[in-house]
């Protein structure tokens, strides 16, 4: 069964997109520059786009192009170049022992470089010339060559890459640019909020977004023009959601979906002060007056309809990322959320959510309000040099999630007789956790980590952490004078082989000398089991 799209399919699919696949006149386009910076530019037909020190190009060069391509710029003309792949610098023996960073002799003078640039010599040719003339270059190792080349390229290259304004990319761009304006909502935080709020096409959502419209942008993107998004803002005029502008949405994504009220108009007893718009026809004196009256009527009608819609309630979720007191917001808006609907509140500050949670627990409208902190770590992926990136964001804020429920005041909890646990059950245990990583891909890796955690030492067999599938064997040893030895393997290992591994390792044995034996036994068992399975 082969599914291939016909051209008809392709075109009808494009109708469904929330933005054009190609860059359109009027779009805000994010460009990644050679040094990694991201810059937003407006691409307006027949204009010139300046990209800082890189130079400028004709906007028409980009219009109609798909996102994601890399271009080189020369004389305001763009040339698409192949995307860069990872340079293979396989296991070189190279080190930077002989390199004094920053002390490169520069055989080409600045003047010479400028002249070359002016004469339109290609960057890579220029770098080649540089290298050839570089007196010390033969001394340089592979490793430093790569580094050197990269530095030079960054310096002289006039290339850039267009970034597709996906929610992820736009969120990352704003987070790096000005995280305060999006209230510390990092990409992972936003992703979790959207999932927790059960955002889907066709849903109805109630949103308070003081995060420059990032949350609104995310919800609109996920809804794709289908459903209702009602936001409550703190302004007299319709709210400005600047992040939404970065998404280059097609009109249908916002127009039929997004409506707004403010904190006054969203009150049930609010009485709008509206100048009359129902003027008898014979009193209308001019066309201008007529259109003004029509406009006024449209605005009033929209306001009335939106208010009715809010008050009729049954919204699927309430999402809040606001500078105002979240408890006051919940009290006002929770009546309009449907039973079993999600309540999601983000805040840069844990304290705010901790207090909110305490308050939510005093009423019986919320099931299990829970606070979590999103955590994210990015890695640099380079051959032979993979590691977590050196700079990472400290916080993406905190998320409180709860489910709206209808209470039954007559229901009473069942009380279970407290099981008396062995005294030891809740004590802090210093421990060593040994984990065998990957018994089949490479050499066995034994990590040793000091950990401090609460463990219920009910039985030495009680599983402590069930790690995800794979060929890992975990050996946990929690000691306070070596009380217990835990061994477990997880994942691809079948239950039987896991049990075998555990029993072989001799649970409940004492003494430091069993460690090594234990590890080897587990690994063997794991390896055997894996071989059997693969």
């Amino acid at each position: 069964m082969i599914f291939a799209m016909t051209s008809h399919d392709a075109s009808s699919l494009q109708e469904l997109d929330s933005r054009d696949v190609t860059i359109q006149s009027g779009d805000l386009v994010l460009l990644r520059l050679p040094n990694g910076d991201v810059k937003g530019v407006k691409v307006e037909k027949n204009s010139t786009v300046a990209v800082g020190r890189l130079g400028s190009f004709h906007a028409n060069e980009l219009i109609g192009q798909p996102y994601g391509l890399t271009y080189e710029m020369a004389n305001k003309i763009l040339k698409a170049v192949p995307p860069r792949t990872l340079q293979e610098v396989e296991d070189t023996e190279a080190t930077n022992e002989l390199i004094n960073d920053g002390e490169f002799v520069q055989p080409l003078t600045i003047d010479e470089i400028e002249k070359l640039k002016a004469s339109g010599v290609h960057v890579s040719d220029m770098i080649k010339m540089q290298i050839e003339q570089h007196a010390n270059y033969s001394l340089k190792t592979e490793y430093s060559k790569e580094k050197y080349k990269k530095r030079k390229e960054e310096k002289y290259s006039k290339s850039f890459t267009t970034i597709e304004p996906t929610l992820f990319n736009v969120c990352e761009y704003w987070f790096n640019k000005d995280r305060a304006r999006i209230r510390d909502i990092r990409v992972d935080s936003l992703a979790q909020m959207l999932n927790l709020a059960n955002i889907r096409p066709g849903g109805r959502y109630l949103v308070v977004d003081d995060a420059s419209g990032l949350v609104v942008a995310g919800i609109l993107e996920r809804m794709g023009g289908e459903g209702r998004l009602l936001t409550i803002c703190d302004t007299d005029s319709p709210p400005a959601y600047p992040v939404v502008a970065n998404m280059n949405f097609k009109p249908h994504v916002t127009s039929g979906v997004l409506v707004s009220l403010n904190w006054a108009t969203s009150e049930e007893d609010y009485i709008p002060i509206i100048p009359p718009s129902d003027v008898p026809p014979d009193q209308i004196r001019s066309e201008r007056q007529k259109s003004r009256l029509n406009k006024r009527k449209a605005v009033t009608d929209l306001l009335t309809r939106t208010r009715d819609e809010l008050f009729s309630g049954e919204f699927d979720s309430l999402v809040v990322a606001s500078e105002y007191d979240p408890w006051s917001i919940l009290q006002k808006l929770i009546p309009y959320v449907a039973g079993s609907g999600s309540v999601v509140v983000h805040s840069p500050h844990l304290q705010i959510l901790a207090d909110l949670q305490t308050q939510m627990r005093t009423t019986s409208q919320f099931l299990s309000p829970t606070i979590t902190e999103p955590w994210l770590r990015r890695y640099q992926i380079l051959p032979g040099r993979t590691h977590p990136t050196m700079n990472t964001s400290g916080s993406g804020g905190f998320i409180l999630h709860a489910i709206k429920i209808y209470d039954d005041p007559n229901a009473s909890a069942i009380t279970f007789p407290r099981r008396t646990k062995p005294k030891k059950a809740k004590t802090e245990h210093e421990g060593i956790e040994l984990f065998l990583h990957d018994a089949w891909l490479g050499p066995w890796y034994i990590g040793v980590r000091r950990i401090q955690r609460r463990v219920a030492l009910k039985s030495p067999m009680s599983p402590i952490v069930l790690q995800r599938h794979s060929c890992m064997v975990f050996v946990y040893i929690f000691e306070r004078n070596l009380h217990y030895v835990h061994a477990m393997s997880a994942g691809l290992l079948s239950r039987e082989s896991r049990m075998r591994a555990m029993s072989r390792s001799g649970v409940n044995t004492f003494g430091r000398e069993v460690y090594n034996q234990l590890i080897v036994q587990c690994a063997l068992a794991a390896n055997l089991a894996l071989q059997g399975q693969l």
């Binding site: 992703a191 770590r377 890695y379 229901a411 995800r468």
Partner: protein
Amino acid sequence: MWSTAREIAAGDLVIIWLTRDLVQPLIITPGKDFNSKFGHYRHADLVGIPYGSKVASRTGKGFIHVLRPTPELWTMALPHRTQILYLADIAFITSHLNIKRGSRVIEAGTGSGSFSHSVARTVGSIGHLWSYEFHEVRASKAREEFARHGMNDIVTLTHRNVCKDGFTVTDAVDAVFLDLPAPWEAVEHAKVALRKDRTTRICCFSPCMEQVMRTVNALNDAGFTEITMYETLLRPIDVSHVPVLQPVGEISEKLKQAERKREDKRLKQIAAGRQSTSKRKREDEGTPVKDQTIMEEAAEEAAGGSKRIKTDDEDGAPLDAVPTPAMDLDPHEESDAALPTTVASPPAPSPSPIAPKKISVSKVMPEVRGHTSYLTFASLQPFEPPAEPAPSAAAAMLAPKPKP
């Protein structure tokens, strides 16, 4: 996918929330009963009540919450046939792969369908998910589940080994997600399935770094770019509501008070020793070393005193305000009153007389998940290397700058 009606109807799949750690799916079948240690319920009694209701057991003891299923609740409730993905990873992958309404997505393997449900919700009825599973039983269980959840028009499940036989679609999908032991074996197949008219994305989910390295090489060889890798977790925060912390000034006052009392007693005893020539009861008890007893008493009093300061102000005495025996049984307490003391002045400035304020404090839960998997992402750009010198688009662009 699931019912969007306000009220529960017969045949609906609902989520029964017993406790946070005990969440289970239930298909409402009038005539059947639902029994748990949280009471007994008739399915028929749940029909017609609004989703999100708290329902008391028929005996009146115990209750449950009956919720509308969402992919997030399903992840908490589903029957495990494999290891599954949870919220943090699912959300991040969905976001990085740019999955949204209308997206066409491939996943392999299906496993327990945790990721599948979330994707199906997000892409909606105009999107599509092709899901592959090579384990026959898992494949058919998942197929049944998708059908029961009304996902047949969104999900196509195929029983096959994708590493060996590839996928069933060509140039069709926006994103591929691989949760397999050897994703690198499926990378070339993924490339075939991805559409070529725009940027498309892939994510490989592997717990071990060695797997990541092999995957990265395969992606690079296949022409994927912007290869990057993440780890994401969710740290649960524990909030408790506790009385405001005591300032050390109060402790200092208590200590000083105890000290004064002790000194007072010492003086008292010296005085008593001098005055009395006859031996009294006290010696019958055979006090060993006088000074030591005094020290102990003082210590006891210090302890008792600290309790007292708290109990004085609140009568709904909390646990830690239970009077200690040391305080009540101290035989010297009464004699104190009889004698002139230096502690006659009112005790330390006591904290405010109203009930102590409480504060919310929070910390990360003691036991948290430390690693799930590495998420390796890459994208495939719609770049076509100019086979022949392209019809000089560049030259066309050299056109003179338009006049405003």
